[in-house]
Symmetry: C2
Subunit: 416 residues, 2 copies
């Protein structure tokens, strides 16, 4: 059976080229830059005071000291946004506040604390070096410099830099569109009351949230009954809108109702893989048609989320601009765990830090249909295939759910 | 001077009660639940087949084995969403697929692989225990159980659970509204071309992105000139809309232009603190008026972001539902770093994993006005106050920027 690594690699190899779009900088946080950003000017663009004080010629005050201050005539005032037009000639100074352009003639700023002002003059109590308390015109960015590279995730500092450079709108990778097609005669809408034998469509909602977490835009499509025709035509309708990904849920098992794979075939999609050596979530089928990735996941919510996190997340985050698989950490098992042959088990666990070491305790039921234990988990412990029972204390790898990394990093990191 | 810890504590102690709102479950990922969720029914709500096969009475097949199969008459078929009305009496079976309700009379499912079907009958090749391959009506959730507690962050599994329980709309904490009031005569809009001595308003954009990262809703307010009246009336206009937080930038230094503190006073706000023992970002002023927190930050973008991340983030994330300060990790300094008296230095660094240990190298200029080095950083290394130069190899604490934790956790965690 195909390994998880191989399945992940096949999906990553089949990614469409991402689309780009222009967004308002104010809403661009979390987006990924689509182009290199080259500065068209220096930043801040002019020499300015880095402190409140007096703009002077350093030569003038070279001999200043507390007992023998140098007296300068104050010929103007400069504030941020309000430059002084005065020219600082020998023997003069301009009162200046932080951020104000350094007046012509001046080459340094003496801080207020090192002066005494009186009646149109200022007494400077200590010397300054040329350039002291002055910010250079290119102290932040030099004109022509590549400030940010295409592919950069826009965090607060990058947003600030783009603002400083005047990029009011910014070309970013479009968040990949992911259609969610739910198959299953048993499904009813979330707002409906299920009749006997029916269940609400929880899997699509859980996957929608997971798609958002990966930087995608989920689109909830109509539910589809368990018939080949219906599934094929629903997927065809999605394909017509050319989303980056179509994810189906249900109908991917090996029984009579293994219809999704047939539907993909009927639509002429290029087969990528079917079934992956993992538990839960073995029944994954993947194909490609045009620029759209087609992925069929289990109808069982925990199984679908497990396959999504392990196999789909790397591809979807890569499409969104930067491959971000779940973080990996080594953890100590609190309880013994049985291996299974051929397939890796992805055990829902609570990972916690204890004495600088990460430990994992099972989070409850491991059934593919059970969500409540997944809601109590913050990681999958990966149990490699085999025939043994791994004793408590065994060190295994865990995949840490998005959002739980910070706490565990603060808790002391991993097990080396 | 007030310590960072004390300033953080004071802000956290002054938080307003969060507002709640109801949102569509489809868009609720990342929100924080405002109420306890108690199940009004079992989940899935009925006994069902966990495998494709035949629903049988376990007693009937107790003696089944490969050489002496038990023959049962097939009296119906059940699929997910299509229950069978047949009653399984001794000697009979119902063909069943995964997720279908277990028919009356049956107490177990024999998997297809362990049967041979022929002409209205099925030969069962091995015994099953009562309950085998059957999912119980309450296997996921029991009616009356508190499934999720108020304050829970809604991740994909929680969204799935809420969907399964029929919560099409869900009460969540409203994302805190944060007004950003920029003061400074030197500021121009991002889309404008600065004249000599002017700069674009990058700080507000960077802070807007940081507010979003913390789960807040940033609102960019009009820029305000450096005059007490103008600042007070801009803050008053914000207060009239009762946001959770108003953040001003600029005008918080100790020069003549220290106007924000005076504006807060004039509005009758309760003073919380002024100036914090940190560099950059010392000039923070905090107050409270009605339910609104007022925070004045530096106009320098890197200084403002540093104060925000260290002091405001814990409060804002707590307001959003779960206090999330930056993750802390111990790192080894690659280069020597000079301490400064009284204040902690927050050094922009690149933290990277090498041999299972986290190391930190300076990310460039440490000037409060420089953003480009912050864009190259993924952490602040915290240099405690003092008079020494810490040699390369010193272990210090680092605050890891949001989004960089996963890579560092995977890289091998911290330094114990």
């Amino acid at each position: 059976m195909l390994s998880v690594q191989e399945a992940t690699r096949l999906l990553l190899g089949a990614l469409p080229e991402p689309e780009t779009e222009e967004v308002d900088l104010w809403s661009a946080a979390g987006c990924v830059l689509a182009v290199d950003v080259v500065a068209d000017s220096d930043l801040p663009g002019f020499r300015r005071a880095a402190m409140d004080g007096y703009a002077v010629r350093a030569d003038d005050v070279a001999a200043a000291e507390g007992r023998r201050p140098v007296l300068l005539r104050v010929i103007g005032e400069a504030a941020a946004g309000r430059p002084s037009e005065a020219v600082v000639v020998p023997g003069t100074a301009v009162r200046i506040s932080t951020g104000a352009p350094l007046p012509a003639g001046a080459d340094a700023v003496v801080r207020f604390e090192e002066t005494r002002a009186s009646d149109g003059r200022v007494a400077v109590l200590c010397p300054v070096r040329p350039g002291e308390n002055v910010g250079e015109a290119d102290e932040d960015v030099r004109a022509g410099e590549r400030v940010l590279a295409a592919g950069t995730l826009l965090r607060p500092p990058e947003i600030g830099l783009l603002a400083a450079l005047g990029w009011a709108r910014v070309p970013v990778l479009r968040r990949p569109v992911v259609h969610l097609v739910s198959t299953g005669d048993e499904l009813v809408d979330v707002a409906a009351t299920p009749a006997y034998g029916q269940v609400r469509n929880s899997t699509a909602y859980a996957l929608g949230a997971a798609v958002r977490q990966c930087g995608g835009q989920p689109v909830l499509r109509q539910r589809v009954p368990d018939r080949l025709e219906a599934i094929a035509s629903a997927v065809a309708a999605s394909l017509a809108e050319e989303p980056e990904v179509v994810i189906t849920t249900g109908g991917a098992s090996v029984g009579e109702h293994d219809l999704v794979r047939l539907a993909f075939d009927r639509l002429g999609a290029e087969h990528l893989f079917w079934r992956v050596a993992m538990k839960p979530g073995m029944n994954v089928v993947a194909a490609k048609r045009g620029r759209t990735l087609l992925v069929g996941l289990s109808g069982n919510p925990a199984a679908a989320l497990c396959s999504f996190e392990v196999i789909v997340r790397p591809a979807l985050t890569a499409l969104a601009g930067a491959e971000r698989p779940l973080a990996r950490a080594r953890v100590v098992l609190d309880e013994e765990v049985a291996q299974i042959p051929v397939r890796s088990r992805f055990l829902r666990v609570q990972v916690y830090a204890a004495g600088g070491v990460l430990r994992a305790r099972p989070a409850g039921s491991q059934l593919p249909s059970v969500l409540s234990s997944l809601a109590r988990a913050n990681a999958f412990a990966v149990i490699p295939p085999g025939l043994r029972t791994l004793p408590a204390g065994t060190v295994v790898e865990a995949l840490i759910f998005a959002g739980s990394e910070a706490g565990l990093l603060s808790g002391g990191g991993g097990v080396s």
